[in-house]
Assembly symmetry: C2
Homo-oligomer: 245 residues x 2
């Protein structure tokens, strides 16, 4: 029987810790899914996703590469586990906090989360996030927006909107912060040279205005994100008031 190399069912099982009941025989297990995941996570946090190889993780744990496959069916699955493991429980709304503040707190926390684990957004997405922690965060966002008066498909839509723009802007911020020193400056330089006023009038006009050159450093991007969210919530309030949703 070939090793079950994955599939959604297996992934979900692993993520939710539903241990397929295994016989108690054989040598005691020296490792565990959690231990493997933790080790991989530590490597990624310290040296980036590229440093995570099965060999490296095994070395870190003092085991052979192949023994990891006793716990994790493939590297891809391991990465899914890492992502969920990197995700702490979502922030708890404070008493009396407005729903808008709740949303903004969520955005800030998400921003922080991605910056704390700069590799997370490099993982090319394949599946919807079905890990327990991922789901908890999404639930938290839905909760806040629901308080704001949204329901059903609209609720889902706006939540996705906020989620994806937060992810996207965080990814940009991280790319700029992570690149070799000077990459950002080099990019700005290139931008300045290429965004000529004839072909790119609007963009060209922004370059001096934006200080670092149109692709801003971290804090400014966050401010931009926050503004976008605020305006979206403004629009949403109007929408709800008008009686839809």
């Amino acid at each position: 029987m070939p090793r079950d190399t994955g599939g959604m069912a297996r992934t979900v099982e692993l993520l939710w810790g539903v241990s397929t009941p295994r016989g108690t025989r054989g040598p005691r297990q020296g490792l565990s899914v959690a231990a493997v995941t933790r080790a991989a996570l530590a490597i990624a946090d310290a040296e980036g996703l590229g440093a995570v190889s099965m060999q490296r993780v095994a070395k870190e744990l003092g085991y052979t590469t192949m023994s990891l496959y006793n716990y994790v069916p493939s590297k891809d699955q391991l990465i899914e586990l890492m992502i969920d493991a990197a995700t702490p429980p979502p922030p708890i709304p404070e008493d009396g906090e407005s729903w808008r503040d709740e949303v903004e707190r969520w955005v800030r926390a998400t921003w922080g989360l991605y910056h704390a684990h700069r590799w997370v957004l490099k993982v090319p997405t394949v599946n919807p996030p079905l890990g327990p922690n991922q789901m908890a965060w999404f639930e938290a966002l839905l909760h806040a927006l629901h308080r704001g008066g949204l329901e059903g498909a609209e609720l889902m839509a706006i939540a996705q909107h906020i989620l994806t723009s937060t992810r996207g802007q965080a990814a940009i911020s991280i790319d700029l912060a992570t690149g070799e020193d000077g990459t950002a400056a080099e990019a700005n330089e290139a931008l300045r040279r290429l965004a000529t006023p004839d072909r790119f009038p609007t963009l060209h006009g922004l370059i001096p205005a934006a200080g670092a050159g149109g692709f801003h450093p971290g804090a400014e991007i966050y401010e931009g994100l926050a503004l976008g969210v605020r305006l979206l919530l403004d629009g949403m309030e109007g929408y709800v008031r008008r009686g839809a949703g």
Copy 2:
């Protein structure tokens, strides 16, 4: 002299076709950057990014793997070229079109673009998009929003917001459409099972309401995106009217 393996400068050079003047000596070139890029692009469109390897591209062209390196300094650079090559010129706004319609047309076109080249959003971003076509699209979006009354950092922020949420939602839609047949259904099934009303009350409430189970198929996601953009623009109008920006 080692082959220049890249760096922003080289990338930009390639993207903008600034041919570093090469001597006219030696055998006539059988290939060109464009030809290599085109071949790679065709493979990616037909079989996904995973099918693009240097060997495969070379085979397609009837050359050796290594000969490609005469034209393209590395695979990563080739991928950047592919992305820009996959990007047609942005849509041209119609006469008399409102700025809001201009934005919405932009969003729709972007959506279509990503769906036409389903591999583009799988590329883990490293650099800001400096290719000429990428820049042209961004300029188009800036132009529309500028007409709406935004300036400077606010303009940049809202443009990024729209860009990232469009990318993000398109990515979700593509993942669902691309997975093995049944993956989406399986995910919904899992979601239904895992999103228990006690721990995930809001999410749980959405599952039946959302038809396919909370993670909607293509058209519905597009509707959601469009709604989000509309509300954001609503908020933006208020903001502009209030005199900021």
